[in-house]
Amino acid sequence: MRSLTRRKLLNNTMTVLTGLCSLFAVASLFFILGYIFLAGVRGLSLSFLVNSPKPIGEPNSGIANAIVGSVILITLGSLIGMPVGILGGIYLSEFGSNKFGLLLRFLIDTLTGTPSIIVGVFVWTVMVRPMGHFSALSGGVALGIMMMPIVARTTEEMIRLVPHSLREAGLALGAPRWRVTLGIVLRTAASGVATGAMLAIARIAGETAPLLFTALGLNYLSTNVLGQMASLPFQIYYYAQSPYEEWHDMAWAATLVLVTMILALNIAVRVLTRNRYQQA
């Protein structure tokens, strides 16, 4: 057996090392965020938010088209992904405590890890190619598909937190199971389900890969869901790849807008869930 001092030394060394690892992880986030803020805040102005892109050299170029496009795409995605995800999640929590439920849960968890580019290619083969052109609608479907497994699993977890006594009380009054689930259980878990949905939105808001072959991008403002549509992540990608300094600045400013939105959603979810589900 090694001497006690050496063992204690090793113990302390490991405490310091693991602490340094944590410091590194935390510091890298703040380093990246700090850079985004400094590089993005220069290009940020009101006209940047309310104008659409202008040709290189013209003043008052903006990303209004991308902001509007992202909002539309996220809305489409939510309209498709959330109902499916929530209903699927209800099944998993209320009827899924058997082998079949376990299998579904397993497949759904596995799907969460599917590369987003694959979803893009999939939607391209089943929607864009048959329709013959890129469309915001197909982009919405791609984002919706990405949301489904996330929403289903968070809904399931939130519904599981509802105490059994509430279900039993409803059933004892003679209400059928579906009314108990929708009227009592889902209602009780509503805020939890909503935060899960917010988390899912935060996840898809920054997705670029599923939009590359579906919504593509567009350099002017459009609300036609059957045509191409701009989005913040795509616009960032497009500007970053360009050779123009001016567009790089716009990419950073657009990034600041996107990241602020996503972090705000994440922090809101955190604050909401901390108050309600201390243990969760």
Partner: protein, 338 residues
Amino acid sequence: MGSTLAGKGSATPLTPNRPSLPFGRAVSSLRARPRIGDPLFKFTTGLFAVLIAGLAVLIMVSMALNSTLPFQKFGFGFLTRSIWDPVAGQFGALPFIYGTAVSSVIALLISVPISLGVAIFLVEKAPRALSNPILFIVQLLAAIPSVVFGLWGIFVLAPMLRNHVYPALQSSLGFLPLFKGNQNGLGLLTAGLILSIMVLPIITAVTTDVLRAVPGIQREAALALGSTKWEATLIVLQNAKSGISGAIILGLGRAIGETMAVTMVIGNRPQISASLFDPSFTIASAIANEFTEATTEIYLQSLIELGLILFLVTFVINMLARLLVWSVTRGEGRGGHA
């Protein structure tokens, strides 16, 4: 599933006897009404759950159907061919498989020790009041979009590596083929480094879940026998082994499928080169970069076949990872959402 649903609805008594008393009517109407609501509810919600789970099959089938051309022409040789020449109509997946594998391995080599360090610190060392905020900050790192990492990679990380880190690497380890050749900052190593930051949160979050799932009594037993805290931690790690491997494999799955950030910093050239400074291509970045430019049908279908390979590999990897993580956390914990 259909067979279990039919049961309850048709089991209600079929004799609607209607007494004149109001009380009796109330009771009888409750009985007589065939209760199709519940089976219907179960069926509908079940349908959606199956639909989500079935997406995996749908994706696989549609990609397989859309990549028959290269499969007929190259067969399984597609996997081992190293030519990628759209003009000559010759396609092979090897350069992309190589780029994907090497960049992912680099990512894991860097992120695994750090992630484990963070997770150990959070679960075994830090008080909850400190560990929860740190875990949240690490998870925020996972919330940053891939394209933002790419932007940061192009304009911050790559110049930093090109000007300071890579020249130093080359002058000290330049005798290795790994660090030979030109460095413009965009290449395999840069992609691996970006990936390591991107998979750090997922490995950390899942490992933290796994370590928290190890019963506290194991630590107490070790401490009671006179071991130091670190020695107790080693015992915890020993027992969480399978879950930790699951976390690492989950990180591998993420690294393999990561698209935008890699596309932006890897240099995008389909070649197999010993030097980590050289530009390369991953499967995901090849699809992202060339899909809309594919002019011939076989070119397009070859890209879809690359996608099918990527999907199958990540699916198997994620499946394996889930099984390993579940073996420790018993299906609980929120690892999937990190």
